[in-house]
Symmetry: C2
Subunit: 295 residues, 2 copies
């Protein structure tokens, strides 16, 4: 069992707060220190028992820290790396929970120089449209996957420490290259968010928006759940991962054009074949998910 | 309170079965007779108490019926109207639960002739990717909306009867023209189904489908829930409503192209504005829904 003396959570929302609670519940950490841009958020997290103390600055936060989790929107990671570097002790390992990985590893290489060995890029595959420390829960990562994307310079001890910490949270850890990670998540996560935002925005801008929303029901609600996600967070993700995301968007628009051709030709068999194959693939996937006790 | 002596459910799945159970629970019907293409389905529905009796043919089903609900896939409605016409008594009212309305009213006008006065087109806004009589529930329609789309020839007594029956199920009834109905539901229902099927199908066809599905999580699951819907039912809906559906698809693809332009230009502010407006619109909609006790 890993036993950390002090961890730092930078950005105490759902991701960072749940990491803290999970490690506490596992008895894997002695002290959790929070740092962030909004004092009230940190006070609230402390009241909730998510963190034990609030750091006033990076100097105080980093002192004696074993592990630092950067859990802010990915657009703010670079500034955080710059701010923590002057206070980075030799034994401290830094990881992150960002949804994109190539940009963050590149920023770490540029900013940390040789000390990038102490940085382990990570991405817990968990989350919710409901953010904030109040949504944090100790079992958020149980049976979920966490992807780590070490670079050639990443230290093996640091990688092992981060893996062990996530495993203490109940997660299953996978190792991917940053490029493979960013391609996969552009497809299965970033694209669906973009599509859901696009649909709601399109309807909301119409003259008959009230009528449309008035007749929307459960299917629309679930299809668009992720359009209630944090706009700033998803803006950052989409911008930094825009190259693979644009490739996914193009592939999807090509698929929509093929469906449009089937519709225009009233090709019932062709349409049913697409629908049936999709349903079968999804049902097999759900079946596999439930076997893995994943949600 | 309406009191029906005999109703006929043609197609005893989620929609038809729940209508039967709701009317029974309200004490609004004496006898429910089921008819359908699969004997085993009808036997199961009878065992479950969803229907009281199974009709062997339309002659038997229609004898003395007060109200007939056509609850089969919309592509099968025309054949049903043809089959029931020879046995349609003067006092019997026929309605349907199809997700498209203009095609069904046109078919009814063509097939029933002057007796189209006895036909009331309807669409209960409820459903699930889980179909079948076993999924039927007496409270499926409670606080849900049901749209009726009478034509110029629709009889006022029949319209009043169908409205009262749905209200006995706990539903709120709206009246729309068939054209308005088909445009609204092309947008808020048919398009999202098409989009979800397209995404799952696109991923399933790739070489790395296993990897993609392996990292897909809760956001993807909810976004694609409706891609587990019945392929035959949705094939019919998309084909018969293809004119407004294609218009919606084109509007959506234009919206995606605008987002693609923002992405390619790395326009963070532009992207965030779209995401923030979408989230606000959706959250306001959800708030209104919960105030109406709708799900």
């Amino acid at each position: 069992m890993v036993k950390l003396n002090k961890i730092v959570i930078a950005g105490v929302g759902l991701i960072g707060g749940s990491f803290a609670l999970a490690l506490k519940q596992a008895g894997a950490v002695r002290e959790v220190v929070g740092i962030g841009r909004t004092r009230a958020t940190l006070e609230r997290a402390k009241q909730l028992g998510v963190i034990d103390a609030i750091a006033d600055d990076w100097a105080g936060a980093m002192q004696g820290a074993d592990l630092v989790l950067l859990a802010m929107p990915v657009g703010a990671m670079e500034a955080a790396l710059q701010a923590l570097l002057p206070h980075l002790e030799a034994h401290t390992v830094v990881t992150d929970g960002g949804s994109t990985k190539r940009d963050i590893l590149q920023a770490a290489e540029r900013i940390l120089g040789a000390r990038v060995a102490q940085f382990v890029p990570g991405h817990p595959i968990a989350g919710s449209e409901k953010g904030g420390a109040a949504a944090a829960q100790a079992d958020l990562y149980r049976d979920r996957r966490v992807v780590l994307t070490p670079g050639s310079a990443t230290g093996t001890d640091g990688l092992a420490l981060v893996r062990t910490a996530w495993e203490a949270c109940g997660a299953k850890v996978d190792i991917l290259s940053t490029a493979a990670h960013d391609r996969v998540f552009a497809a299965v996560s970033h694209l669906p968010h973009l599509l859901a935002y696009a649909l709601v925005h399109e309807f909301a801008a119409r003259d008959n928006a009230g009528e449309l929303f008035g007749f929307a029901a459960g299917g629309f609600r679930d299809f668009t759940r992720i359009a209630s996600s944090h706009p700033e967070m998803w803006r950052d993700i989409c911008i930094v991962n825009r190259a693979p995301l644009i490739a996914e968007l193009d592939a999807y628009m090509a698929a929509l054009l093929r469906l449009r051709t089937l519709l225009a030709a009233a090709d019932a068999n062709g349409l049913e074949a697409v629908f049936a194959a999709a349903r079968q693939a999804r049902d097999e996937w759900l079946h596999g998910m439930s076997e893995n006790a994943e949600e």
